[in-house]
Amino acid sequence: MSADTPLSKERPNPAVDGSELIRFDRVVKRFGANTVLDELDFSVASGKHVTLIGPSGSGKTTILRLLMTLIKPDEGTIKVGGAYLTHEEKNGRLVPAGEKHVREVRKNIGMVFQQFNLFPNMKVLRNITEAPVTVLGLPKDEAEQRARDLLDLVGLGDKCDAYPTQLSGGQQQRVAIARALAMRPQVLLLDEVTSALDPELVAGVLDVLRDIAHTTDITMLCVTHEMNFARDISDQVLMFDAGRVIESGPPEKIFSDPEHERTREFLSAVL
């Protein structure tokens, strides 16, 4: 096992019939009087890299947070790998999911945050091994080997014993990427992962993500304002406005020949 490449194509939970991995059905999310997602339907096929774009407040980050179960939808259902994330089936009826069920489904999902959120009280290596050891039950040496491989992959093989505060923002974010990958998730959620970085550190992080996108079959859901990056890694781009997908398609189409007026406006503002 320890000879594994860190991003081997084996998956602990293969996607149902290899196609649809994520499905939102009529999902509604409100914050107070503000309806952020309005009966949202969309699905993502396994292995695809999907970028969510749109003006701020259009609900992109909310989608990632719903998938990570950091928040709950007010209405509708979310499925990941064929299992309900929000509900569970009991005696043939759908009931709100219990904590245990959510935890099981959530193991298939990893997330990288805008603010990195590394654990400052742990060294880099333990940041990465903590969850594989305590959640997946991996032996410590195997988890450490996996962590070292991943750190090599993100170009930080020499930082095992550093504390997060001793690293630059870009380095911290790359550790955070390694930490998420160490769980071998089927889905990787990237929430504006370069927004908090100094401009000169952005490229390093994007290079790592590009590398991962092109060499693995991990499904990626990405909220970003880096349009070049989106064009580069995406199979599909979803344009959001006011809690709905108003346009979707391959990046060449969306970026060079958008159909919707709002998309044109948005792109001319950010490009």
């Binding site: 950091l70 990893g110 945050f113 959120n117 590394l118 654990f119 742990m122 969850a131 305590t134 959640v135």
Partner: protein, 227 residues
């Protein structure tokens, strides 16, 4: 001025002889005071953490009673609590020695302060840490023990230390139920010799000698921990 100058008749003059006579009792008193302080701190640190975790319990059935209990204890005088435990508990056939009662009372009383300290420390851990723990599917237990508490406790060590010093200065209240700590020793000594000045002064100086270096030590610790 040497320890040999006995000046027994006078109450105006400082009498080193009386100091020397008091010293054996004084050291016994120091021992009791430090013992109460050490055990009291231990109780208040651990019980306070229990309260702080209970403040965050998922169910109101835990949060409410604990909130009520700690508010009650925090807002009634320690001396009243001491008397209550010492004189009322035996009526319910629960009987401890004065020193045990005193240690429990001071530990319980201060646990309601340390609970607030821990709570502030826990609240100060950024919400992103909880989210990262959740995103990694860490268990409830691991989230607390490996992520939240190490960060929270580190922040609050200086504040906890301040309460140890405050607690030290509250230990003389235990004289009220007859615990043979520093103040009670000096009172007994003085009651026999009628030389209050010497015994009480020695005790006062002793408190400074314990408290001031402790607070210096604490400040050094604070500089190391809060980076």
């Amino acid at each position: 001025m040497s320890a040999g100058t006995h000046d027994t008749g006078s109450t105006d003059n400082w009498d080193w002889g009386a100091v020397a006579d008091f010293m054996p009792h004084f050291w016994d008193g120091v021992l009791v005071t430090l013992q109460v302080l050490a055990l009291g701190s231990l109780i208040s640190f651990s019980l306070g953490l229990v309260w702080a975790l209970a403040f965050r319990a998922p169910t109101r059935l835990v949060r409410w009673p604990v909130g009520l209990l700690t508010e009650f204890v925090r807002n009634t005088p320690l001396l009243v609590q001491l008397f209550f435990l010492f004189f009322v508990l035996p009526e319910w056939n629960i009987q401890f020695s004065a020193e045990t009662t005193g240690t429990l009372a001071i530990g319980l009383h201060y646990s309601t302060y340390t609970a607030q300290v821990y709570r502030a420390g826990i609240d100060a851990v950024p919400v992103g840490q909880w989210e990262a723990a959740k995103a990694l599917s860490l268990s409830y237990r691991r989230t607390w023990t490996a992520v939240i508490l190490p960060q929270a406790v580190r922040r609050v060590v200086p504040a906890l230390g301040n309460y140890v010093i405050a607690m030290l200065k509250d230990t003389p209240l235990l004289a009220g139920i007859g615990v043979l700590e520093l103040l009670q020793r000096s009172r007994l000594e003085a009651a026999q010799t009628f030389q209050y000045t010497e015994a009480l002064t020695v005790v006062g100086v002793a408190f400074i000698l314990i408290a001031y270096p402790s607070s210096l030590l604490l400040r050094a610790l604070e500089r190391r921990l809060v980076r």
